[in-house]
Amino acid sequence: MHNLAQLVFNGLFVGSFYALVALGYSMVYGIIKLLNFAHGDIYMLGAFAGLTTLSLGSGALGGGFLALLVIMLVAMLATGTFGVVLERVAYRPLRNAPRLSVLITAVGASFALEYGIAVAYGPNPRVYQIGVSGGAFEFAGARLTYAQLAMMAVAVVLMVALDALVRRTRTGRAMRAVALDPKACLLMGINVDRVISRTFFLGSALAGAAGVMAGAYYGKVDFLMGFTIGLKAFTAAVIGGIGNMRGAVLGALVLGLLESFGVALFGSQWRDVFAFAFLILFLTLRPTGLLGERVTERV
């Protein structure tokens, strides 16, 4: 168990989950400088949207990996739409308000989302009835399951697609422009509100995909599952340099690896302490992150 290859693989696997969530965090922060506390809960919402789809259409879909992909698409649409609504209802009215107000609103949104799901689905963990266990094989002394590999592949495909979207399409160019200077964008005829909505859609959809995968992999979901991963995703975004998308992925993989080795050293009950202590350490030593640039506050 404690061989190096296994630890590295576990770290990369967990890191790819973190990356999907961290991307949304980082994108939203990059564009409107908002810490969307509810982002981890959108991940949770994705898992529950998947659960509902699964219970509604399990007969038609069957089990297996194809079903998982369909469920994931539905959940991504649902969480993406929810992200847009959340931005419209809770964040847009406060765009010019003091930063503290927006942060508190985000906490309220997170709280409402968690306990809304607790009301709707009951507070106890729910079982995810989809079989993605499959077989396993050995590689360089590490035990890999096909399900893990497939999920990592899906995550990589999503990340590459997002990267291409941001770097090569008109929407992506508008997003980067808004991140740079929203006022100038307004003058240049970019519909800033629409760009922000799209950003929320993309970020939330990715988090939703991660939620479905986590549900399928761990076999159960509960309404507080987004809390810790939201914090971890933020940690990953900070490690990579918040606002920087490739940085977020890098940070997530680094965090996954660190956790994997930390667990091997100290035991799994210290996993979260290790991750958050690392966040504090990182903010002390290099607050701009690995790939971030030094940001000067403009008045």
């Binding site: 949104a109 968690e114 302490v273 002390t284």
Partner: protein, 374 residues
């Protein structure tokens, strides 16, 4: 007018500009606070203004304090005393968080961490080393300050958003650590924590009285802290950090002071909590607590001591009235948090803005004779 301009400078001819500068320096602090003191959002409604004026009168505060202390004489029902003690401890937490969030505008999402540090420090010293509970209070203060230094040190230099999420992480670190260590009792926690001594009274009433006195002093202290020089600096930093820095306020130090003050309040509330509960365990200090304290501060009115006290009483007593349906309650709290921020960001009972009235009157009175002379 001309005379008026020359009057403040004894040297007369040296120049108008010099005198204007000197006057500006003289009045700088107050002028800025008058600007900074305006509410966070739109102008507040007249009714709420009148209500908060009533609430801010010191007589009302005194009456409430006397009522709080006299409660066991009026009705010594065990259940009533228990929930009243809980409510008072919650008031202390809310007032402490108000220093950080309300006065200084720093969002602390892991306030329960300091509460936990206080409760566990005094609990461990009292149960494992046999210290009397009162003797643990200084150690608790030191521990809370140390925790504040550890978290505030690196993060207060950064943007305020970072502080929010780092404190959230810190809250989890403390809770998980308490859960994992042996000397904190692991998941079972600590039990058999002694009280402060019963002074020949029924033990719950003795604890109630200690709590009531400590909380009254704490509320008074926090409210006076907010009105002093440091309080003005806090509000200035809250309204505009860059402007505050440009005016010569050491924003890092000022923010640190707020954070440490909040930590000490939280720690001492933890001691009271440990004495009251006699048993503490990690789940008592989860994020829910931090969120509820924040809720009390935001709902009552950030920066307004009477508002925060009322908010804390409401948040801690409502569950007693609405038993069951917890998830619904938290769902409504979350939605309320959003609604308050959008429609009434200053809270239900906002702070009165500007300088306290008496001082302004004295200022005018002092200036008048000189105008007459001129």
């Amino acid at each position: 007018m001309v005379m008026n301009n020359e009057l403040p400078t004894p040297s007369g001819e040296v120049g108008e500009e010099a005198s204007a500068y000197a006057r500006a320096v003289d009045e700088r602090g107050q002028a800025n606070v008058a600007l900074a003191g305006h509410g966070v959002g739109r102008p507040r409604a007249r009714l709420a203004g009148a209500l908060s004026a009533v609430l801010a009168s010191r007589w009302l505060g005194a009456v409430v304090a006397v009522l709080a202390v006299a409660l066991p004489l009026l009705n010594a029902d065990t259940y009533l005393i228990r929930i009243a003690t809980d409510a008072l401890i919650f008031v202390m937490l809310a007032v402490g968080l108000n220093i950080v969030v309300g006065y200084c505008g720093l969002l602390d999402l892991g306030y329960a961490a300091f509460f936990a540090i206080g409760a566990y420090t005094s609990g461990v010293l009292a149960t494992k080393f046999g210290w009397p509970l009162l003797a643990t209070a200084p150690v608790v203060v030191v521990a809370a300050v140390a925790g504040g230094l550890l978290i505030g040190g690196p993060t207060l230099r950064l943007r305020s958003d970072y502080l929010a999420i780092v404190t959230l992480g810190f809250g989890e670190i403390i809770r998980i650590t308490a859960n994992n260590l042996d000397f904190t009792g692991g998941p079972n926690g600590l039990y058999g924590i002694p009280d402060f001594g019963d002074f020949g009274l029924r033990s719950d009433i003795a604890i109630y009285w200690v709590t009531a006195v400590v909380v009254c002093v704490a509320v008074l202290f926090a409210s006076r802290l907010g009105r002093g020089k440091l309080g003005r600096a806090w509000r200035f930093v809250r309204e505009d950090e860059d402007a505050a820095e440009a005016m010569g306020i050491h924003t890092y130090k000022v923010k640190f002071a707020a954070y440490i003050a909040g930590a000490v309040f939280g720690g001492l509330a933890g001691v009271l909590f440990a004495a009251h509960q006699t048993a503490i365990s990690p789940p008592s200090f989860n994020f829910l607590w931090s969120a509820l304290i924040l809720m009390a501060v935001v709902l009552g009115g950030m920066g307004s001591t009477p508002g925060v006290v009322v908010g804390a009483l409401a948040i801690s007593l409502l569950p007693e009235l609405l038993r069951g349906a917890e998830n619904w309650r938290y769902l409504i709290f979350g939605l309320l948090l959003i609604a308050v921020m959008i429609f009434r960001p200053q809270g239900l009972l906002p702070a009165r803005t500007g300088e306290p009235k008496p001082r302004r009157r004295f200022g005018r009175a002092a200036r008048k004779p000189s105008e007459v002379e001129a």
